[in-house]
């Protein structure tokens, strides 16, 4: 089980052939109270960098990008009624979608936890 991060503040939890994707604690904190989340439909083929989900807070609306290439397995339906899960549990119950791993080499190029932490410190 590995967690990887993108510079667009997505996290990717890799478990076997499946990647679970959400936005980081840093991202939810910067966005403020989340009021709406749109997750992708199962079966959608996505390429790395595609905008696949939308997150809306009281302050702004942002796209969430596919961190890797693959196919969407499922979106987190719970977020439809409880978008606040993204604030309360960004890297747990507030996950956005699960997807297949089309090209494992893309994961190698993402940041690890220490790398992401350093990246965020550079932003402040």
């Amino acid at each position: 089980m590995t967690v990887k991060y993108t510079e667009d503040h997505e996290w990717v939890l890799v478990e076997g052939d499946t990647a679970t994707v959400g936005i980081t604690d840093y991202a939810q904190n910067a966005l403020g109270d989340i009021v709406f989340v749109e997750t992708p439909a199962a079966g959608t083929e996505v390429s790395q960098g595609d905008d696949v989900a939308v997150v809306e807070s009281v302050k702004t609306a942002s796209d969430v990008y596919a961190p890797i290439t693959g196919e969407i397995i499922e979106g987190n339906d719970a977020l439809e009624d409880q978008p606040e899960l993204v604030n309360s549990s960004p890297e747990g119950d507030g996950w956005f979608f699960k997807m297949t791993i089309g090209d494992a080499s893309e994961l190698d190029k993402l940041l690890d936890e220490a790398g992401y932490k350093a990246f965020c410190e550079g932003l402040d």
């Binding site: 109270d33 009021v35 709406f36 809306e56 009281v58 302050k59 702004t60 609306a61 978008p83």
Partner: protein, 499 residues
């Protein structure tokens, strides 16, 4: 409300006002109607059985209700309104006088054209001024407001591409674009690609050039941009866009900064909407409607939507149908002829100012924004401090760092001070944005009072008064509203309480 409790719940002139439905008294009525005679229903069982849902009110109660609501409103006629990118300038009363002239106010849009020649001439004259000011050969007058104008411009661009056999796929928008730009592109069936900004707040020309190819239908750019900066590379951008056969859409929301000084047509722009309700002083922000004519280059002019006015030399003709046009209009996007009342008001504004007056208006708008910048830059953090800004100045929240006060808290306290807050958290390219646009219609005394207020507030924040910011506003009819709950579980309709 303040902590002072009154018996009535009112606070002096601030009257506590329930919803009109909560004031419903069945049987009360504002007019004395005769008894309804017995009629044999011919509705075949479709007659309404339930209540019609209108509150029973007397006329004086109704008048007071709306008067009291209006008194809770903050308008440009109330005070300073520095809402960035919205150009909340004074609406001259001369415009209102002209719009109320019987010969214009009492027209019906279905009157025969022979009886409305003056009105058609007025539309033609207003169009003439807009074409002169922008250096563009054509203008579509009918769009209802800014975003509708964007839609019109992009539909013209799409029609032009389709006429060449390929509508193309992509529209480029810079990161700092008004949110309506990517929304318009998506509504026209295009994929939106974002162009990053440089560290000085302008479009990254190299990134733009790298993104240009023959799939790109258009670029949508605001100039001056939403950071309040003039896009210096605009001519080079236009050349690069045209080199791949794409069109250049300019968001004209910020035309107030360059009116009478720069003609978009000279910059290589193909289409630009003009917010008559901003630059040309017609009312907006609840007092509208808006109006968003779109000027078009020679390349896009043939696709302008119907209806449009033609000066035949022997009177004015209104071309209302595609079949009657000798051009290739993409269709119709608005009922009737556009916002006639706003054409009257903006023509009144243009003619009363004259070309020299319009030029001075844009100059003064830029001067006022730079005055704010100069007087606040030592206490607030200017996002792009190098060189002058245009008609609006962008600050970010670095000056609030470690104070515990956010941009939102700062804005809420401005409400207690009786000033409409600036635009906040937009544009997104800086953190915790505060975007201030004073407009040319504010005098130095007003600006000085505002500057004093902002400086004192900033000092308070830096002196550790975070708690008082967090509890603002204190003096409004309602205290800080739960914006999160309002967005998560909106209640959009009053419903009768269950008995």
């Amino acid at each position: 409300m303040s902590d002072l409790h009154t018996i009535t719940g009112n606070q002096g002139l601030q009257i506590e006002e329930p919803l009109i439905f909560e004031q419903d008294t069945p049987g009360k009525c504002g007019v004395d109607l005769p008894d309804v005679p017995e009629v044999k229903t011919r509705l075949g069982g479709l007659a309404r059985e339930g209540k019609i849902g209108l509150p029973g009110m007397t006329e004086p109660d109704t008048v007071r209700h709306y008067m009291r609501l209006s008194q809770k409103n903050y308008a440009i006629d109330t005070g300073f309104y520095p809402l960035g990118s919205c150009t909340m300038k004074h609406n001259p009363r001369l415009n209102e006088k002209m719009a109320r002239l019987g010969g214009l106010a009492d027209l019906h849009p279905l009157q025969p054209n022979s009886t409305v020649q003056g009105a058609l001439e007025l539309i033609d004259q207003c169009a003439h001024w807009l074409k002169e000011l922008t250096g563009m050969p054509a203008v579509a007058m009918s769009p209802a407001a800014g975003a509708h104008g964007e839609l019109c411009g992009l539909m013209a661009a799409r029609a032009a591409h389709e006429a060449k056999g390929n509508p193309r796929k992509i529209v480029l928008c810079p990161e700092s674009a008004h949110g309506t730009n990517p929304a318009t592109a998506a509504a026209c069936g295009y994929k939106v690609e974002s162009i990053p900004a440089t560290s000085d707040g302008r479009v990254d020309l190299d990134a733009l050039k790298a993104a240009l190819n023959e799939d790109v239908a258009a670029i949508m750019l605001t100039n001056p941009n939403t950071c309040g900066l003039f896009e210096r590379d605009i001519v080079e951008i236009a050349e690069a866009v045209h080199a791949v056969g794409a069109y250049f859409y300019c968001d004209g929301a910020n035309f107030n900064a360059i009116m009478g000084r720069v003609r978009p047509g000279d910059l290589g722009i193909d289409c630009m909407h003009i917010n008559l309700h901003k630059t040309f002083s017609t009312p907006h922000g609840g007092g509208g409607p808006g109006s968003g004519p779109v000027v078009l280059s020679a390349a896009l002019a043939p696709y302008a939507p119907v209806p449009y006015v033609v000066d035949t030399g022997d009177g004015f003709k209104l071309v209302e149908h595609k079949a009657d046009s000798d051009q290739d209009p993409f269709g119709r996007i608005k009922g009737f002829h556009g916002q006639m009342g706003m054409f009257i008001r903006s023509l009144s504004y243009m003619m009363s100012h004259g070309s020299d007056g319009l030029r001075q208006a844009s100059g003064d708008a830029v001067l006022n924004a730079n005055y704010l910048k100069a007087k606040l830059q030592d206490m607030l953090t200017v996002s792009f401090p190098d060189g002058p800004c245009m008609h609006e100045v962008l600050f970010d929240d670095r000056f609030l760092k470690d104070t515990g006060v956010t941009t939102l808290d700062f804005a809420k306290m401005m409400i207690d001070e009786g000033v409409h807050p600036m635009t906040m958290y937009f544009p997104l390219v800086v953190h915790g944005a505060l975007l201030m646009e004073p407009t040319e219609t504010e005098n130095k005394a007003t600006l000085d009072k505002f500057i004093h207020m902002i400086r004192e507030m900033t000092q308070k924040a830096k002196d550790g008064a975070a708690e008082s910011f967090k509890s603002a506003p204190m003096l409004t009819p309602r205290r800080r509203l739960d914006e999160t709950k309002a967005a998560r579980s909106p209640v959009l309709k009053w419903t009768e309480a269950a008995e």
